[in-house]
Amino acid sequence: MLREGKIGVFEAISVITFMSATKVLYSSSRALVEASGTSGWLTTIVSGVTALAGFYFIILLMSRFPGQELVSVFETVFGRFAGIIFSLLMSVFFLLNSAMFAREFIEAVKVYAYPLSPPSFLLVIFILAIITVLYFGFECVARTAALFAWPMLAGLAVIVILAVPLYEMSNLYPVLGHGPACIIKTGLLRSSVYGDALALAVVINSLQGSEHFKKSGVTAIILSTAIIATGFLIYNLSFPYYIASESTIPVYALTRSIEYGRFFQRFEAIFLFVWSISGILASAINLYFALSTYSKVFRIDDHRALILPQTVIIFSVSLIPLDISSIAYEHVNHIRQYGSAIYFGIPLLALLVAVIRGIRGEQAGA
């Protein structure tokens, strides 16, 4: 049995927030600006609320099977074979997320900071950092995320505060962007942005009880929604719509515009640290959940045996998309739009099957 150790609520929140909120720093946020106009921040709040509702079903599912983690719940509910299929689907999805984070980051960093460096070279450094974090296990992943949580939040807060002179209220109008229907439709479609909270169910035994699971998941979704909504709000406040929809990495563009006199200008230095560390951690965390799910499915005791093969897969998969446009408009966009089916659809299906067939965990009746 995989030994994953114990983590606290703060660490669990940090893990999920890094998985979810980091997305605002990358190219997919541009797609949202294009889709919902000036109401990106409202749209993402709708996504957050939808994700909370989805997470409620995950809580219901897990509370029927106390002491069991998600892979084991799937096997109990769907049977061994179908359970393995669903679990592997989740594992592949986490892996894909990790690979896309890696490629998105590498493409963005290449465009803005390292035009002469080959992507594979940058990817090797990125993956070396991921391997180090994963090698020491889940406790290490969670603690590293918890340690960087405050500096990353502080970095974002600095950007929000320093960008104040750029804010122009008129840029927010029309407040409802392309209309309420568009907000709700896009918000519902992109609720997978906050679906990462499902990952907590994979390591639920590392959390100290189901109360911690609920608390961590709900807080992480709310916190991530707040961070992403703030990101969109300040971006929309700073740039008019026609400019906002043209920037590849919106928050990066924002940091470059900050200027206080001749000396204090161009704060992307802060952003580059926030960007790199968040990217590495988000990718590492996703990969850990892929490894954890896979190990649990095949009863592998030690996730370390899988790190090297999985990182080779990450390396290869992340180099499949042709360029940043195909990542932003095809791969990542599809992940965001259809990810909900994995994050919320499978657990909901499991819950329905469990209720209809009256399946409960062994400890539930005790």
């Binding site: 460096s117 603690r143 000396f263 161009r266």
Partner: protein, 595 residues
């Protein structure tokens, strides 16, 4: 290990790529029962077991008698036998025949070749054959002459002696020294003699008498050399173990302060003491300390530095995992927090375990100063830590990869200053950093005043000349100097050393991948730091993982606010003081003295 085959280079390379199953032999500090309750000290401390459960590693204090084999030739000679000098036939118990004892002692100490072991034969009260053994220079000659020999050789002292083993009578009626202990085994007697004790052997006695006469030259108590403070105690440990233990006892006048003693080096019989407070220290930590100390098998331990390497959890890490201090007050404060102090003979330092990262950036001064000043100092030190670690790497990253991030004026100033320098900035930085390390090392190695002068002259002249010769840019001199200052501001020598080495790692990362490389390096460093433990306690606790509310990590709250002992080390008694420790705030000033 002689029995194991040395791996070939190819074998080592293959082993790097081969999967190895997890080895789970790491000590984990379990949570105490009733962990959540902030209870006070248990009334009954008798059920707290501080004895090591691992009998297989019982170490010297248990099996000293069987560890040192007696040479076959010697025992054969004494017994008049031939060909039976195996391990099982060596003498352990002291013989009632004083001649046998004399022969064995002479042989053990290589007398007459060995000139400083003194054996004085005489007749006790003019009747019983006896001899004393001591080491010249280790024992106090005055005590030996005036309080042992004079009285043992005076027949008047033995008027009431009724026969039998004379040692009982001597202990009760003759000797006027403060400590005299009967020993039954040669090994114990020899160990005592090596420590400066005088041992008396008498005929018809199957034991000997160890008489306290230790009196060797030692350095006096002086001011701390590396942990000086403006306010607070001005005394440091000395090389003498007994003095150091006494210094702690003088601070902690508590009957539950336990002092246990270990012999570690096989050849040099190095002494190590552990100190903890029964009823506060976690028994599992104490047992683990004892287990590690008792399991050491080496011929020579020269003080705390070597001992640290034998007992630390992660020897390959660049950061230290035990705290060393030369201050008795700091040691006492840590013991009172529930930690265990290890003192060794020969070095004026105490090792404190478990230790966490935050302990390495704290100084005793923080506690002596008002909390606001202490807090500011700690933030200054943590800034110094990051400057020392990252500044040269960031400079390289900025000049090589991200010049657009520099404000225009600064970018022009830097490029102007680098105009005539022929090297890339990474070579410049490595050159200056290496020179700085050379100056520092040379300054320590050359004697006294010349060292200080060399440091200043080296830094000034070398820097000035390097700039004049267009080898480095003036701005780099500032970078290296500030980095050096940052490094000196880290209060722990071992941590500062680790940072010096890690700095080069970040220079290289900054050189090959700019800020991204530094960020990746930071993630790797943090991942390692949060995954290591010191005696079962996570190195980055109590922050990562979070362990209770601690008012004394980076921000140091007022002393009256620090009601609990540090939670990560799981002390038995968590409560340091009540919620309201300043009783006067509850009461009122007397009538007529109020506003």
């Amino acid at each position: 290990m002689s029995g194991q085959k040395r791996q070939s280079l190819l074998g080592k390379l293959i082993s790097l790529l081969t999967y190895k199953p997890v080895s789970r032999s790491e000590f984990v500090l379990p949570e105490l029962e009733n962990e959540n309750s902030r209870r006070a000290a248990p009334e009954d401390k008798s059920n707290l077991s501080y004895e090591s459960e691992d009998s297989g590693n019982s170490g010297k204090e248990k099996d000293t008698a069987t560890k040192k084999p007696v040479r076959a030739s010697k025992w054969n000679r004494v017994k008049g036998e031939k060909g039976h000098g195996d391990k099982g036939s060596r003498p352990q118990e002291i013989s009632p025949d004083v001649d046998v004892n004399l022969e064995i002692i002479k042989d053990e100490f290589n007398i007459p070749t060995n000139i400083d072991v003194i054996i004085r034969e005489f007749k006790l009260a003019g009747m019983v054959d006896a001899f004393i053994v001591f080491i010249d220079g280790m024992a106090d000659r005055g005590v030996v002459n005036d309080f042992i020999l004079r009285q043992l050789m005076n027949p008047g002292q033995f008027e009431n002696y009724k026969g039998g083993c004379v040692l009982e009578y001597v202990t009760g009626n003759v000797l006027s020294v403060n400590q005299a202990k009967k020993l039954k085994k040669y090994e114990e007697a020899i160990t005592q003699i090596l420590m400066g004790v005088t041992v008396l052997f008498a005929d018809r006695c199957d034991s000997c008498l160890a008489i306290e006469t230790r009196g060797y030259e030692k350095r006096g108590i002086e001011k701390p050399a590396t942990e000086a403070v403006v306010r607070g105690s001005q005394e440091a440990f000395t090389e003498n173990l007994k003095t150091s233990v006494t210094q702690i006892r003088r601070i902690i006048r508590n009957k539950d302060l336990v002092h246990e003693f270990f012999l570690i080096g096989k050849q040099d019989n190095s002494m190590a003491s552990i100190l903890y407070i029964k009823g506060i220290a976690n028994p599992d930590v104490v047992k683990e300390v004892k287990r590690r100390l008792a399991s050491i098998e080496t011929d020579f331990i020269a003080g705390d530095g070597m001992l640290e390497q034998f007992i630390e959890d992660h020897p390959w890490m660049l950061v230290p995992q035990v705290l060393t201090t030369e201050r008795p007050d700091r040691t006492a404060a840590n013991i009172l927090d529930g930690k265990v102090a290890i003192l060794t003979e020969g070095t004026p330092f105490a090792i404190i375990v478990p230790a966490n990262f935050f302990a390495f950036i704290q100084t005793p001064e923080d506690a002596y100063l008002r909390w606001q000043y202490g807090t500011v100092l700690r933030f200054l030190r943590i800034s110094a830590f990051f400057i020392a670690l990252l500044l040269p790497g960031i400079y390289i990253a900025l000049t090589n990869y991200h010049p657009e991030m520099l404000p225009t004026d600064l970018a022009i100033a830097i490029s102007k200053s680098r105009e005539a320098v022929p090297f890339p900035s990474i070579v410049e930085v490595l050159l200056m950093e290496t020179s700085f390390e050379l100056i520092r090392e040379a300054g320590i190695r050359v004697p006294g005043l010349i060292g200080t002068t060399l440091g200043i002259i080296g830094a000034l002249i070398l820097g000035q000349a390097a700039v004049a010769a267009n080898i480095v840019s003036p701005i780099l001199i500032i970078i290296v100097a500030v980095t050096g200052l940052g490094n000196f501001a880290i209060p722990n020598y071992s941590l500062a050393f680790g940072v010096r080495i890690l700095r080069f790692f970040f220079i290289i990362l900054g050189g090959i991948a700019g800020f991204f490389g530094i960020s990746a390096g930071l993630v790797m460093l943090v991942a390692r730091a949060v995954s290591i433990k010191s005696f079962g306690v996570p190195f980055m606790a109590p922050a990562w993982p979070r362990a209770g509310r601690s008012p004394d990590i980076l921000t140091r709250y007022p002393v009256w606010y620090q009601e609990q002992r540090p939670d990560p080390i799981s002390p038995v008694n968590k409560k340091r003081q009540p919620g309201i420790s300043r009783g006067w705030v509850k009461g009122k000033p007397p009538e007529g003295k109020r506003e």
